[in-house]
């Protein structure tokens, strides 16, 4: 497939399709949680968000928008470039957090248990041919 522009409705739609197909509730450990990624300094000068909401391991909401992100259990903030590096599998999300390139807001004890799940999620997104 030809590359989709990163963080557009087409990209979001393909990402949702892949997440639902590749991440079964078992792979997602039947988690019930939500996470907003906030992309600062996007190429068009805006801040965008990507909201993931899971109930019992099923993706129930996957929204892309601009401005203030909806309320979520975890809020991960970083520059567009850093998220793009993660989506291209050039940088691990955990390393980005360890080096301060991403900021996490939320309960760290629960986040530790979700680290592997977040990696799985990022791996699916990294599989989408995208233009940045």
């Amino acid at each position: 497939m030809s590359p989709l522009q990163y963080l557009t409705e087409e990209w979001r739609s393909e990402a949702e399709r892949r997440l639902k197909a590749e991440l079964t509730p078992e792979r997602m450990n039947h988690i019930t949680s939500s996470m907003s990624n906030v992309y600062l300094d996007c190429p068009d000068g805006t801040a965008k968000y990507l909201l993931f909401r899971f109930a019992d391991g099923v993706l129930t909401e996957f929204a892309l928008g601009t401005g203030e992100p909806p309320e979520a259990e975890f809020l991960i903030t970083g520059s567009y470039d850093v998220f793009a590096q993660i989506s291209r599998a050039e940088l691990g999300a955990q390393k980005a957090l360890m080096t301060g390139k991403l900021k996490l807001k939320g309960n760290m004890i629960k986040a530790l248990k979700l680290a592997a799940i977040a990696d799985r999620l990022n791996k699916v997104l990294a599989g989408i041919p995208a233009a940045y």
Partner: protein, 407 residues
């Protein structure tokens, strides 16, 4: 005063260390170094200083030690520096720690104004010993006209790569820990575990290690850390002071014991399953021992903490247990008081390990791994001091890696 014996395998050239620090001080334009961290006291004085203490290192000549008066004679008896360089402070005119030390420093400076290196910062390790805000203000006032500059990097740089005497002390402390583990294993097997509590296991390990010459179970985490049952699997958990919990059949048991030999530290964890063990528990145990073995094979000079973590988490993911692996594989170690942070204070988060630190030959660290599955009330811990080599690492504790099923 305890004379240094160059023929001893545990000999450390403390005068040489002080001269090296004085060389670094000269390069940094520091006239006097005022150390307050426990790691600096151990590294310069070769004596355990459990009370608030300070070491003053002049531009040349031997250092001076200052400690609470109730312990000063013992410190003078055990350190290598001359007795007349050990001072006890007390709440009396001219004898409180601020005035006593400030006057000593002023005498060293012979009336001129100078730059005084101090130790400031923060740490996860509670007894780190950085100068408190109050102490800083008092010293600043008492040394008016002098400049106080944060200079702990000087000691950190010099103490990063360990000398043979220090490694020999760690090796002996690890041998002692192995004796402690053998004593625990003997006590547990053949039904011996029945009725035992975590605190009793901590105590019997301590007795065995003290009989071998351990000075104390040095860890500030309650000495020997023992966890059974669900306590082995706390999320992200790697701190389990022993509780009064009794061992139960069908549960995991984590034994993490500590010994100290001449300020060298032993720290090794071994794990058990109390029979009957389920197939699922055995699966967890196999995951754990496999990733520990792979981690030990992977450590070597040139690798960084983040590279190692990425490789190991990748392995865990490929085997289906990444959810149960705490994504950290080490913590720093040095002579008593030097625990937690690895390398220099040069990472993205001040006073935390730099994830991109490149290990060098001769560095010593604790390979520390935690497997935790709270949903199934099971977890395992591995800790072992390792010496970094060019093409691998030397684990100092030799107790065989495994998770024994105890019946």
């Amino acid at each position: 005063m305890r004379p240094l014996d160059p023929a001893s395998p545990y000999f450390v050239d403390f005068p040489g260390r002080v001269r090296a620090l004085q060389g670094e001080m000269a390069r940094a334009g520091i006239d006097v170094y005022l150390g307050s961290r426990l790691r600096t006291l151990s590294w310069t004085l070769d004596v355990f200083c459990p009370w608030r203490s300070f070491v003053v290192v002049p531009a040349e000549g031997p250092p001076a030690a200052f400690t609470f008066v109730i312990d000063a004679a013992r410190v003078a008896d055990e350190t290598w520096i001359p007795e007349d360089r050990v001072f006890g402070f007390a709440p009396m005119g001219g004898q409180d720690q601020i005035e006593l030390i400030a006057e000593f420093i002023k005498d060293l400076l012979k009336g001129r104004k100078g730059r005084v290196g101090i130790e400031s910062g923060m740490s996860n390790y509670l007894p780190e010993g950085n100068l408190t805000h109050y102490e800083f203000e008092r010293f600043r006032d008492a040394l008016a006209g002098n400049v106080l500059v944060n200079a702990h990097d000087l000691v950190d740089r010099l103490s990063l790569v360990k000398d043979p005497g220090t490694i020999a002390r760690f090796r002996e402390a690890s041998r002692i820990v192995d004796v402690g583990h053998a004593a625990v294993f003997d006590a547990l097997r053949d039904g011996g575990w029945k009725g035992l509590t975590e605190t009793e296991i901590a105590g019997l390990a301590a007795l065995a290690m003290r009989r071998e010459g351990s000075e104390w179970e040095w860890s500030f985490t309650g000495g020997n850390e023992i966890a059974s049952g669900y306590r082995t699997g706390f999320t992200g958990g790697a701190c389990t002071p022993a509780s009064r919990r009794k061992l139960e059949a069908g549960e995991p048991l984590m034994v993490d014991i500590h010994a100290m030999f001449r300020l060298g530290l032993g720290d090794h964890s071994h794990n058990y399953l109390i029979a009957p063990a389920t197939g699922r528990q055995a699966w967890h145990a196999r995951n754990f021992t496999d990733i520990v073995a792979l981690t030990l094979e992977t450590y070597r000079a040139g690798i960084s903490p983040s590279e190692l973590a990425e490789r190991m988490i990748g392995f865990a993911e490929s085997r289906g247990f990444a959810d149960d692996m705490v994504p950290g594989f080490e913590h720093g170690i040095g002579m008593m008081g030097d625990e937690w942070r690895i390398g220099m204070n040069d990472g993205p988060f001040p006073y935390w390990t730099n994830p991109d630190h490149r290990y060098r030959k001769g560095e010593l660290l604790i390979c520390a791994m935690q497997y935790a599955c709270p949903e199934e009330a099971i977890g395992f811990r591995y800790e072992n001091p390792i010496v970094i080599l060019d093409d691998g690492c030397e684990p100092l504790s030799k107790f065989p890696l495994g998770v024994e099923v105890i019946s």
